[in-house]
Amino acid sequence: MSYHKPDEKTLQALKDIANKLRIHSIKETCASNSGHPTSCCSAAELMSVLFFHTMRYKANDPRNPSNDRFILSKGHAAPILYAAWAEAGFIKESELLNLRKIDSDLEGHPTPKLAFVDVATGSLGQGLGAACGMAYTGKYFDKASYRVYCMMGDGECSEGSVWEAMAFASYYKLDNLVAILDVNRLGQSEAAPLQHNMDTYKERCKAFGFNTYVVDGHDVEELCKALWHAEQTKGKPTAIVAKTFKGKGLKGIEDQDNWHGKPMPKDRAEELINDLLSQIQSPNKPLHPQLPNEDVALADLTPIRLLTAPEYKIGDKMSTRKAYGVALKKMGDASPRVVAMDGDTKNSTFSDIFKKAHPDRFIECFIAEQNMVSVAIGCATRDRTVSFASAFAAFFARAYDHIRMAAISQSNVNLVGSHCGVSIGEDGPSQMALEDLAMFRAIPTCTVFYPSDGVSTERAVELAANTKGICFIRTSRPDTAVIYDAGEKFEVGKAKVVRQSDKDQVTIIGAGVTLHEALAAHDQLAKEGVNIRVIDPFTIKPLDASTIVASARATGGKVITVEDHYKDGGLGEAVLSALGEEPGIVVHRLAVSCVPRSGKPQELLDMFGISAKSIVAAVRRTFAN
């Protein structure tokens, strides 16, 4: 096939739409008296060509699974995205003037409150990773013809996550992915580091394996041509590096400093708009996007259930991280929608058990945790897959901004962090997750599972697959005994009372290794005639306040929490929050209180005061008081 230049009429219509998009962007941001019109204007021709020439989609059905995908990674250019959908006819032009208002879904940065937004953007450098997840899904899971377009700013190319995504896209030969770089030279507070050095951008994109075109980003014909070539290119993703001017088309503002994030002054807006209007030749010529190939089936949203109950016997010894791998493999058996990914730790997190059984549904993301989370989010958009991404729990700290944005994106990703706490032992503090519960608790849409044996881990994985929002499963390295019957039922927000008697004097709440330490303490104290109640919260968020309160009351108001986590933001504080106003309850918390060190797991549990020994001592102190 060879390239046919669009006819003059079409080219003129695309130019006209670009100017209409500029006008809308100015009007919107004037109405809200905030926003980024100059960042919109640099992308006007790019948006026009993408939305009215290149992309195939149903304008009245933005979430159709066969549509091409579009991600505005430079989320601050939201007004022009809204303008494009107004021109496409999906939103009313009058609605544009409600930008950023409290009762409008046209927020300052795009969020999925809008049907045409798959992932929230506005934290820079995250769009391309999500686009990679979508493109991977399109090419390898859906095996469909939809393509993925991601519009990025030049400022955000300083974010390392962009280069993680670049490396990923070329490694997996995502030839259905196009990254468009709007190189408008100017950042927020000064020029971006590479200014208009188009060659440097080109060299970087090429070095990272992209088919790369440098174009004049304000020339609609060049854009049509480059995007056409992108579609013909096999085996490589394409980067369109577009030289543009910030504030293009705005006299006296174009390419000038100090216009980032500033609406046009009221007294100049009219003149600027008139100037743009005068360049529009056929204001009423509508262009319609091409329709997609409908080669994608709707997702089967029936709940995914394990085909068989867990196959563990009480007393069997195994780590919860291994149980995760087994469970995930079984979920993969139950549904083809389950996919998994890892950050080159699959032999430690045990996601390699899934990989062995379902190699086509496993994505190795290498050591790039930010990108892995973005890819997981991308894979889960439009319910195309149920994604599980695993790594050492500590290294989700690396991706916390992405996880935060996933909540704003209403994403249903499942994240699994292994090697939590000091119980990993000799590898030392850099590998120990001791802040992960604090992190995930502060994500509003998050469910935090902290299973304590093989059976509950398997059920946690099953529940996570069917729970909306972000799910985090915290797994441990050491082998621990199975404590639940294979038939035991688990629910989100329902704790288990693992040990109880009529004479319990203290309630101990532990999870993971510390639950087992609590059980050991229970046995030891029982020999001395002291009975304690032991609770496994199963989910830390939501926490089963009523079971905890009832147990606390039954044990004279005495509660001890014990956790392999720092004192701040973890299980202990969750319990304090849940107990809230309950009168007459005294809580003692055992947790790690300073940066730990290398050593044998049991030595460290002792040293940091969260072992059976420490629990026994705490119980005794409770009576001393």
Binding site: G160, N371, F395, D427, V586
Partner: protein
């Protein structure tokens, strides 16, 4: 190539011998303790030998000497080879090495500054080069000294974006005193690294990012010596093609050996084999001494020379007060430096930049790298560093912050635009989890100043407080509530409004402190009096003041915060007052992902405004009245 003198054969052999002794010790130690990554040590044996005994200039008996060349082992899991180097130098005893990773040893599984020769902890991959950038920037632009910075990276960690942030930074600032060595041993933990042994692809990427990149055989001492001796006019990357497990025949270039130790028998036979390759050479190798041209620096007792210059009632945003305070502090100590991520016009760090342009580092939109650069600049107590960005984007660097705590780093961070008060920009820009994550950093101090006076004091205190200091600032203007001579201390709250008739204690900070004060005014008209407390620092929290005052308001306490419920001010107070009998505690905070809108509307919708506070106070009083 100008003036390169090849080392003599004796030297070359001596360096080879050292490399093999490093292998032997790495194998011996990991087998002895049954833990560690001997194969990742073996691939870098020649590199470490050449670096420490040929290229680097340092005083082996004075690790913290400011003139020494710096070394960072970014691939921290190769710790045993680093420890073996210091055994070879004679600083560590072999017996210490054989008990590494044990609970009473200061030689941990990954390097930490418990050892004098470690400046920053590593072990979370991809972070070393950013720190090295901070050190190299300091050497070149602040110290203006001749020491160089060497960073050894693994190929697996080249997948981390943070590495490329650092790469871009180093070339932008022409850090010709920075040398990165890439140990391309092909194999990662669970799979080969994505680029395998395609050293030319690494070279191309490095060159595209503005580095001079030299490909060498990483096991050739001669090639390494030559490459490292080249004059440098830009940051240089030595791309060393190596074999993972080199010297261990069964493991060489084989999958399945990452992080695996050799059995005792296997270790002994391998060590015998390696030993046989150590040829007699009488030559002892000593590192060259550094040029002593780093200026003396004192970071002790950095004080503001004058009291804050604000008048009560004056309105100013705490983010602006931050910029002014750091600029003022910078006037009286030339080692105060600042950096930002292209948000300096929001965080107001541009006030510092305008006044002290040579001490400001623009890090562009790369938050991870900024925190690493800050850590590097602060290492060996060379600078007092203030790094600013929007509060919420410190989430991007949380792994770096976590590691900064393990590194015992003294960095100061300022997050502006916290909470809903960011308004129309919407949730992507609102910091609503920053207190939760900083509270979970064990070495952190969290300042949350509520006016310009206390902001200035917070900056002064942060400069003198060890550990990671975080200052949370707000975008909207707020009234000055403190006198210029008011004294502030870490962990000391202020009672902003009190009377004998107070019935409820309300604790707020930043915007919500001002909302609480407005609620107090409102309630006064109804003859309801409340006590208002400004905690000043959220960590440590002044539990004593809070408990004393809550007791005097009959145990009634309300917290109100522009933050999510989890991990913020409310939970901090909860932790502080737990087990106090007879307390009634209620919290106001943001419960859901918020949205765009005017700040005042958002405060109402999410229930942290003055009306919500007043209403909760009334409710609390009526329910306690009902209880009687």
């Amino acid at each position: 190539m100008e003036d390169y003198h090849k080392p003599d054969q004796q030297t070359v052999q001596a360096l080879r011998n050292i490399a093999n002794r490093l292998r032997i010790n790495s194998i011996k130690a990991t087998t002895a303790v049954g833990n560690g990554h001997p194969t990742s040590c073996c691939s870098v044996a020649e590199i470490m030998s050449v670096l420490f005994f040929h290229t680097m200039k340092y005083r082996p008996d004075d690790h913290k000497n400011p003139n020494n060349d710096r070394f960072i082992l970014s691939k921290g899991h190769a710790a045993p080879v680093l420890y073996s180097v210091w055994v070879e130098i004679g600083f560590l005893k072999e017996s210490e090495l054989m008990s590494m990773c044990q609970v009473d040893s200061t030689l941990e599984g990954h390097p930490t500054p418990k050892q004098q020769f470690v400046d920053v902890a590593t072990g979370s991959l991809g972070q070393g080069l950013g720190v090295a950038c901070g050190m190299a920037y300091t050497a070149k632009y602040f110290d203006k000294s001749s020491y160089h910075v060497y960073c050894l990276l693994g190929d697996g960690e080249m997948s981390e974006g943070a590495v490329w942030e650092a790469m871009a930074f180093a070339s932008y600032y022409q850090l010709d005193n920075l040398l990165a060595i890439l140990d391309i041993n092909r194999l990662g933990q669970s799979d080969p690294a994505p680029l395998q042994h395609h050293v030319e692809k690494y070279q191309r990427r490095c060159e595209a990012f503005g580095w001079h990149a030299i490909i060498v055989d990483g096991h050739s001492v001669e090639e390494l010596c030559k490459a490292m001796s080249q004059p440098r006019h830009q940051p240089t990357a030595i791309i060393a093609k190596t074999i993972k497990g080199k010297g261990i025949p069964v493991a060489e270039d084989k999958m399945g050996w990452h992080g695996k130790v050799l059995s005792k028998d296997m270790a002994e036979s391998v060590m015998r084999d390696i030993q046989s390759r150590i040829l007699n050479s009488n030559k002892r190798m000593y590192p060259a001494s550094p040029i002593e041209d780093a200026p003396p620096v004192s970071l002790r007792n950095v004080r503001m020379p004058s009291a804050p210059n604000y008048k009560p009632g004056e309105k100013i945003a705490t983010c602006k007060a931050y910029g002014m305070a750091v600029a003022k502090l910078g006037r009286y100590n030339e080692r105060v430096v600042a950096m930002d991520v292209d948000t300096k016009n929001f965080t107001c760090s541009e006030i510092f930049k305008n006044e002290h342009p040579n001490r400001f580092i623009e890090c562009y939109s790369a938050e991870q790298n900024m925190v690493s650069v800050a850590t590097g600049c602060a290492a060996r107590e060379r600078n007092i560093v203030f790094a600013s960005g929007l509060a919420t984007f410190f989430t991007r660097a949380y792994d770096q912050l976590r590691m900064a705590a393990i590194s015992d780093s003294n960095i100061n961070l300022c997050g502006s635009h916290c909470g809903l008060s960011d308004g129309e920009d919407g949730p992507a820009h609102m910091g609503l989890e920053d207190m939760a994550i900083f509270r979970a950093i064990p070495t952190a101090t969290i300042f949350y100043p509520s006016d310009a006076v206390s902001t200035e004091k917070a900056v002064e205190l942060a400069a003198n407080t060890k550990g990671v200091c975080y200052v949370r600032t707000t975008r909207p203007e707020t009234a000055i509530i403190y006198n210029s001579n008011e004294d502030f201390h870490v962990g000391q709250a202020k009672v902003v409004c009190q009377s004998k008739e107070d019935q409820v204690t309300v604790i707020g900070a930043g915007m919500t402190l001002h909302e609480a004060l407005a609620a107090a005014e409102q309630l006064k008209k109804e003859r309801i009096h409340i006590r208002v407390i400004d905690p000043f620092t959220i960590k440590p929290l002044d539990a004593k003041t809070i408990i004393d005052h809550v007791r005097s308001t009959r145990g009634r306490v309300i917290t109100v915060e522009d933050h999510y419920y989890e991990g913020g001010l409310g939970e901090a107070v909860c932790s502080a007052i737990v087990n106090e009998p007879g307390f009634t505690f209620q919290r106001l905070a943001v419960a859901h992902v918020p949205r765009s809108g005017k700040m005042s509307d958002l405060f109402k919708i999410y229930g942290i405004d003055r009306d919500s506070i007043a209403q909760l106070v009334r409710k609390m009083l009526s329910s306690s009245a009902n209880a009687k």
